[in-house]
Amino acid sequence: MGAMAPRPLVEVRDLQVSFVSREATVSAVNGVSFTVMPGEVLCIIGESGSGKTVTMRSLLRLHPPRRTVIRGHMRVGDHDILALSERAMNQVRGAVISMVFQEPMTALDPVYTIGDQIAETVIRHEGGSRRAAMARALELLNLVKVPSPERRLRAYPHELSGGLRQRAMIALALSCRPSLLLADEPTTALDATVQIQVLIMLRRLQEEFGMGVIFVTHDLGVAAQIADKVAVMYAGRIIEYGSVADVLLRPAHPYTLGLLSSTVHGQTRDAEIEAIPGSPPDLRALPPGCSFAPRCRFAVPPCTAAFPPTALAGLDHAASCLQIEAVRGAVPAHADA
């Protein structure tokens, strides 16, 4: 990165999140660092329970304060997230950073119409009259291509199909022109024909607004469709990071390689899918070395001694692995085209 490089929109340094209870301490995020440039889409992929949602919620400080220990540094725009007062954080939520959840019903209030909810958010953050806010709500529903938007302004969430609800939630999230959109598996519950519509729309809006986006998914096809950069998480750490083409076509970490080969994609029938053996580690008692080592076919003794340092696998492509060369040799040739 040269001296002229523009300042990232998001800078996260050594984020650590653990949940403390009487029985145990769960280390959900264990030293995560990444940046997102303005207008860039970063996809976080990884195993269930690897800390993707916890990382996103940390940026909004949505964890239960009493039971959560957060360490590290997070900056979004000019805001030092961990240093903000609760009041300032409330202003940041929605206006600077907003979030789209996996299940839209958790974000939409069932007793208010779609129009009321969007208008209310606009007024809370930007002031202005109710009439102006309603006009803005209509504009937003148009923007996310909700058919018959005038009628839908007056609809309650349960009166909309899954795809329309998802679009209404995106409209709500965009209502205050955030500079960072956090999207947690926003299309997982949708079927193929509607999912692709929402993805294309999100990508177009993001380009139009110059918004930064962090997008969590476990569908590699979705990542290929929408990401500029991809971060792969395993047991609370980012173990590989790079451009979408580098990570998906030239993976450097054994876990990413395993994820790719276990994805069902035109394999011949009757042949087994190459699954990763074993199961993810217990976050209450992480081993000292690489957390993936017990399941890794490339593992060598030093892997279990200490967590492997991050090594470059290419320009702006890095992986925390001692065996990058061996992994590279195992990537199917066609993927290198």
Binding site: D191, A192, T193, A245, V264, I273, I276
Partner: protein, 361 residues
């Protein structure tokens, strides 16, 4: 099940006998219908109905995997529950291995359950939270008259079989398991009666890719070992292609296309199937889709469009599509193995893209 394969294992219930022989389809569904009433108004009267499953007929052959795809809400889960007789059908009949189900001389519901089991879509909530998983699995064999210790031994064997060590997992409660582990328990539970056929409703959809691969491999092994027939419902078109022998495509409560998996994937004849397949995402950023293959949302199932239900989103819709319901039939007089419900595929239908009607001598 034959005794050789059992070895020294605890004797399971015998797998119900193959009564109809190899050529007899495992299951024949005819004209299945289920409308859900929508109540409202002052007297809470029936004001409308959702035509969730509307005249669906198909067969499942012995030993095959039938994949079922279609948009969310098109009636896949309702269809599965009708087959299981967990929901009463408004019309239609079911023949299981040659025997009508639920009639005087036919198969009783109890016998049907011995033959046909299901893994549910919302498997997170389908295990009893207050029972250790071992007991959840042992429950059905107990209900079917098996002695307690014996049922428990079978439960532990099945746990082992689905890759969960019984000594670690047997006593655990559902909340102590990950999603993939719970799904394995559900599969073990469905196998506890040693059935001949399993309906798997989105059985891998909630899992992440590495666990999904493990469960799919497990399903393949179990199918060979227990000689099972599957009906596999899923949103994931890649998975359906991998696992199915034949595929049934549904749209708004009806079957729109049915045929061998390779034919359907290589030469879809229904415009909905074609659009659905075009929505498949590839793991390569060079293969991004820029324009949606299909726009809009599926219409309201309470008031489906007249004629062909897909016509409101179909790029080829013509007047005939509005007026006449297309029958599910062999396309262009081709083999009966590939069925499609589209006027374009039926000669003489009146659609400008259909072949002319055959000349009858």
């Amino acid at each position: 099940m034959n005794t050789e394969a059992q070895g020294a294992a605890a004797p399971m219930l015998d797998q119900p006998a193959d009564r109809g022989g190899r050529a007899q389809p495992m299951l024949i569904a005819q004209g299945l219908k289920r409308y859900f009433p929508i109540r409202g108004g002052l007297l809470n009267r029936r004001v409308a109905e959702v035509k969730a499953v509307d005249d669906v007929s198909f067969t499942v052959l012995k030993g095959e995997t039938l994949g079922v795809v279609g948009e969310s809400g098109c009636g896949k889960s309702t269809l599965a529950r009708l087959l299981m007789h967990l929901l009463v059908m408004d019309a239609g009949s079911l023949i299981f291995d040659g025997d009508p189900v639920g009639t005087e001389q036919g198969l009783s519901l109890r016998d049907l359950r011995r033959n046909l089991q299901m893994v549910f879509q919302d498997s997170y909530s389908s295990l009893n939270p207050r029972l250790p998983i071992e007991e959840s699995i042992a429950y059905s064999p107990r209900v079917h008259g098996m002695e307690r210790g014996q049922a428990k031994r079978i439960a532990r064997e099945l746990l082992q079989r689905v890759g969960l060590r019984p000594e670690y997992f047997g006593g655990r409660y559902p909340h102590e398991l990950s999603g993939g582990q719970k799904q394995r328990v559900n599969i073990a539970r469905a196998l506890a009666l040693n059935p001949r056929m399993l309906i798997l409703d989105e059985a891998v959809s909630a899992l992440d890719k590495s666990v999904e691969a493990q469960v799919l491999n497990l399903l393949g092994e179990l199918k060979r070992e227990f000689n099972l027939t599957y009906m596999f419902i899923s949103h994931d078109l890649h998975v359906v292609q991998y696992i199915s022998d034949r595929v049934m495509v549904m749209y708004l409560g009806q079957v729109v296309e049915f045929g061998p998996v390779d034919t359907i994937y290589a030469q879809p004849r229904h415009p909905y199937t074609a659009a659905l397949l075009e929505c498949r995402l590839v793991v390569d950023p060079a293969g991004r889709i820029d324009t949606p293959p299909l726009v809009g949302d599926p219409p309201n199932p309470i008031n489906p469009p007249s004629g062909c239900r897909f016509r409101t989103r179909c790029p080829h819709a013509e007047t005939v599509c509005e007026r006449t319901v297309p029958a599910l039939g062999a396309w262009n007089g081709n083999t009966a193995a590939h069925l499609v419900a589209c006027h374009m595929a039926h000669p003489g239908s009146g659609h400008s893209r259909a072949a002319p009607a055959p000349v009858v001598h």
